[in-house]
Symmetry: C2
Subunit: 305 residues, 2 copies
């Protein structure tokens, strides 16, 4: 294993396709990932929030990572999301990722106990890193308080980075509050700071950030890639905002899946895992019609899903 490169650029929080039995469809996931990489996405994060990570067991997540590697997706293109509610599950997922050659791990805080003090959160990550006990580990802290219920404050990030230099490698900030992101850049400039909220990407890059791990990259990676160009304009950002505004009228995972189903003509994409539900037929039609009328490239041949 060579020194893993810091996560930079355009990374996709990949959707998780399911088979009719509700299990992860490994072949469809590998095809999706290969297509994304061919389109210029720098790497993928399976089982993040967009990939419904917390809805899958440790075994399901390990098997899917193994299947991606077996399908020749390189470890250099993977950031493994290994956070779970239970310490022992997070430990098992993180160890498995390392043993599989994927030392870069995106790790949620424990998301049942709240409120959690900054001290408790620091100790949780410290205990985890100590228990893994492998200097090759590269931890990307995952701040998404609207779902985890547990914010990771910039002070905690800085404290962890000081205690574990090199091992703490970055932060995925999906809080959607750019003030928090800017504070991360100030307090921990040595880390890869990435945003989940796509409309913040251009601003982040101007401020010295590393890139994005985002959901829209599943659907229209070129829309996000444009924001990295030196000649990116406010119009490019507006375009991303417009797309997101349409999507966020609905629960975003089922909405993303509906769009992917329409793009591919493959209705297998529609189903999320419980507790999430597919959009209704009416919701799906309204979403696709709105996107198309706004000029987004959702393949029209798939209307008859």
């Amino acid at each position: 294993m060579t020194e893993p490169a810091p996560i930079r650029g355009l990374w996709c929080a990949t959707l998780t396709p399911l088979g009719r039995d509700g299990d992860v469809d490994h072949a469809r996931l590998a095809s999706h990932v290969r297509l994304l990489l061919a389109k210029g996405v720098d790497g993928v994060v399976p089982f993040g929030t967009t990939g419904e990570g917390p809805s899958f067991s440790v075994a399901e997540r390990c098997e899917a990572l193994d299947a991606l590697l077996a399908a020749n997706v390189g470890p250099d293109r993977l950031l493994a999301a290994t956070g779970a509610a239970a310490f022992t599950d997070t430990l098992a997922l993180t160890r498995h990722a390392l043993e599989s050659g994927c030392p870069r791990c995106l790790i949620l805080p424990p998301f049942f106990w709240k409120p959690l003090t900054d001290e408790a959160l620091f100790r949780y990550y410290a205990s985890l890193i100590d228990a893994v006990g492998d200097l090759r580990l590269r931890v990307y802290l995952y701040h998404i308080p609207q779902l985890s219920g547990v914010p990771i404050r910039p002070e905690t990030v800085a404290r962890l980075s000081t205690a574990y230099p090199g091992i703490i490698a970055g932060v995925k900030d999906s809080g959607g509050d750019f003030e928090h992101t800017a504070e991360l850049l100030r307090r921990a400039p040595q880390l890869s700071i990435l945003v989940g909220h796509e409309p913040h990407l251009a601003r982040l890059m101007r401020a010295g950030g590393a890139g994005t791990i985002c959901g829209i990259a599943n659907l229209l990676p070129e829309l996000i890639a444009a924001l990295f160009e030196p000649d990116a304009t406010a119009d490019d950002e507006t375009r991303v905002r417009t797309f997101l505004d349409f999507v966020l009228r609905y629960p975003f995972v089922p909405a993303f899946k509906a769009i992917r189903a329409a793009q591919t003509g493959d209705s297998a994409w529609l189903a999320p895992r419980p507790p999430l539900s597919p959009l209704t037929e009416g919701e799906r039609a309204a979403l696709l019609a709105a996107l198309r009328s706004a000029g987004f490239g959702i393949a029209p041949e798939t209307d008859g899903l």
Copy 2:
């Protein structure tokens, strides 16, 4: 397997003792449970919130249940907490409980996705019951929105009970809002309604409720048992409130564990699993001193922990 009795009376949400390695101490857990049953507790719930359930893996939870059964704790004394963030984990835990002869399961809602609609929550439990596919299953819905982030509304309880009569057997209401509890009694009088918040117990019993699944039963079951007596007074309830007020100055799981350590003289009880931390020595001393000066029976021989 005979028809499982509805959960009624005084049930204990058991603390989970850990060994030095941080793993579940099966022998200490079995001793604790046997002692509780000998003291008149009607049954126990391993791996609820007080038992730090969401902090343990599926394998750890299954092994601990097996160990309790192997230690001759009868299935009629057990309500298995089988909720987890992932659908597949909840399914595995619930199936295992049933296969082990414990058809009564206390099931958290999926606690990562929020907000979750009532419809999505209904479908989650329905999908789970359908997937288990065993008419012997008895589901106790676990309402604890302050930690799960997902309330289970009385309407959803009633709808589930209508869709799965007999299988939906009760609700543990740990929300601490008696109006919610009263609405459950009105909407689903056929179910066992149990409270987690001990000071509401006498009021619940007067209103036709079934009992409690509570944490204080780990420490002073007689304090709670008194509330079931026909001659229970407002003083008995005040006593419970006073005890709880002292405990809730601290995170309640480490506080309960500190008290249990003091009662038994066994410092192994002190440690919770990350992300929870033990009370500091100063916090522990202050808590025990306060309880003792208020006349609660915390064995004095254990001061020197």
